[in-house]
Amino acid sequence: MAILTYREAVARGIAQEMERDDSVVLIGEDVAGAGGVFKTSAGLLERFGPERVIDTPIAEQAILGAAMGAAMTGLRPIAEIMFSDFFAVCWDLVVNEMAKTRYMTNGQVTIPLVVKSGNGGSLRFGAQHSQSIENWAMAVPGIKVVAPSTPEDVVGLMAAAVRSDDPVLFFEHKGLYSSKGEVPDGPIVDELGTARVRRPGKDATVVALGLMVSRALAAAEQLAERGIDCEVIDLRSLVPLDAATVLESLGRTGRLFTVEENPRMLGWGSELVAIAGDDGFWDLDGPIVRITTPHIPLASADSLEDLMIPSVDRIRDEIEQALKP
């Protein structure tokens, strides 16, 4: 057991898989010599050499295209898109190529690759470097979407992503990079599409992702003091989506809350609402409440950013308000 930062866990997960399988390679801007601008690949160049850990030009389409073509022909590349906001400059490769090629070729082509990326806000980077875009990817059939919230999950889900034969977008939360957690020794392999109950509870089901998990847990602690017992579920991956765990919990609690960092419209929460409506409608004792960033670009000033992204206080208050008899 070791205490690792989330960023160290990223490097550890990649190293674990590179160690195991020669076909795993890593490319991206500044990932090699500098060990990544977020230091999530620190030490990998030294350990695996310049054929397997490669600095690229600023050319996100070229990066994802290289990863995809290599994945189609025998490698299992990991590509980095530094900030997830930059997916917009190479979205074609993701949604039109990676996501559709297996289907269009009737299964002839397999695309085992991972695109890792720094996602999310809270660092005062402003509207173009703080977005939570996991919902963009979730809307596109053919792409798996992972967003771990703890160092241990980072390692295990990275391994699962690398071993997946489908393209996976792996969203690391920038606001969590310096957070710490215990990570067991030895190889860790987790499973995509499995949510985790981080806190059992009986009054309400609170579903969160990424940075929002710890905030939801903190809110739950405060609510417990006020007599409200929340079950907090960490979704961990949006595709595949572990709806069963959420629905099972909802069946027990009767109330569902989502805590989302993405702007309000068409966040993963709206899909969860719709699924709960499909499969859990008669379990619902009241409206599902989505606690989200408002549908507004993120401001850079700390005082304004803090107003936008759900805080522990806001999560607590919105849940309490909604459960008021």
């Binding site: 390679v25 389409q61 070229a62 082509v109 059939p141 053919g142 989506l241």
Partner: protein, 354 residues
């Protein structure tokens, strides 16, 4: 104002005419076996696409389809030069390149007809022909991306030290999109074994390439921006293409990095079925029809002593094969409805939630 298109009315741009000496490569150092192989390929591509056109007119081919009638020498010249293991990356205008790698006609035609015996089981269509078995790694319908994907296959070959080369075909219009630039620089920097082939057929869809491109030769004049040699070849002469292809492949295979070739050619028809081709200035099509790649090549074979009857026999064999493929395609069953739900994921299915 000084807009390029305010200097002339649309459709009145300068003609680009073909070379007028079809004998230039008569004494090229290419074996008669290869030459006959290329001639057969030209015939296959031509007759296949004419049939596809007919089936389109009969409303058996649905959606859209993009023919390369008139451009076959590029596909044949490269096809005959590539190793079995080399990768092809093509565009929506990919019938010829697919056939050039030995993919059976039936599967291609059945795919155009949306049948279960289609190359992609009816799920891809004309614009996405792929046969991994033949190393045709896909036909790509959104401009630009596939140049970057071809780099990836080349990178994999380099990493695996397999000696394979990736050959990536694209049009003149594609040289103006961002992914072109990213792909070329990336390939050059990493010395990837990839050959980029610009099929310059003078037009994007309906707009003349010269009207919207800052340089005269859309690919060749950009090659130096990536430290590459500018290479232009007569794309209607299969021998000329073949020689350049062999050299380019050898260069890439030897680890010296990418090559970009610009092949000058012309499409006889419209961009896609919907296009009547009105933007072509008078005389242009006629000049290129007179320099048709099949005409050029048949003339050469005859000058080199191949009997007309032997050539006709090839034509007839190909015609029979096309007929046979047509029957097989027409008789192909519709896809099983369940096929619509398979192969979103590598587990074979489409489920995304529990």
């Amino acid at each position: 104002m000084n807009l390029p298109l305010s200097n002339h009315a649309y459709g009145e741009h300068a003609l680009v005419l073909p070379p007028d000496d079809p004998t230039s490569h008569d004494d090229a150092d290419i074996s008669m076996e290869t030459r006959l192989r290329m001639y057969r390929m030209l015939q296959e591509m031509r007759q296949f696409e004419k049939r596809a056109y007919d089936l389109f007119m009969q409303q058996l081919v649905k959606g859209t389809t993009h023919l390369s009638l008139g451009m076959e020498a590029v596909a044949a010249g490269f096809g005959a030069a590539m190793d079995t293991d080399d990768y092809t990356f093509a565009t929506y205008r990919g019938h010829a390149h697919t056939l050039a790698r030995g993919v059976p006609m039936e599967g291609v035609l059945a795919e155009l007809l949306g049948r279960a015996n289609g190359l992609l089981g009816g799920k891809g269509g004309s614009m996405h022909l792929t046969s991994v078995e033949h190393k045709v790694m896909g036909s790509y319908a959104i401009i630009g991306a596939h140049l970057t994907i071809a780099n990836g296959a080349a990178w994999s070959a380099q990493y695996r030290r397999s000696g394979q080369v990736a050959v990536c075909f694209f049009g003149d219009g594609t040289t103006n999109i961002g992914a072109f630039h990213e792909a070329l620089n990336y390939a050059a920097v990493f010395k990837l074994p990839v050959v980029f082939v610009c099929e310059n057929n003078q037009y994007m869809e309906y707009t003349a390439i010269g009207d919207i491109t800052a340089v005269r030769r859309p690919a060749a004049d950009r090659a130096p921006a990536y430290g590459l040699e500018p290479i232009v070849v007569d794309g209607n002469d299969a021998d000329a293409v073949h020689l350049v292809a062999a050299e380019a492949l050898a260069h890439a295979r030897s680890g010296k990095g990418p090559v970009m070739v610009e092949a000058l050619t012309y499409r006889h028809g419209g961009h896609s079925r919907a296009d009547p081709g009105k933007y072509k200035p008078p005389g242009e099509l006629e000049a290129w029809l007179a320099y048709d790649p099949i005409k050029v090549y048949r003339g050469r074979l005859e000058r080199l002593g191949v009997a007309a009857a032997d050539i006709d026999a090839i034509n007839a064999e190909v015609a029979a094969a096309v007929d046979e493929a047509t029957e097989a395609a027409k008789n192909g069953p519709l896809p099983d409805p369940r096929a619509a739900f398979t192969d979103v994921w590598a587990d074979g299915g489409h489920q995304w939630r529990s």
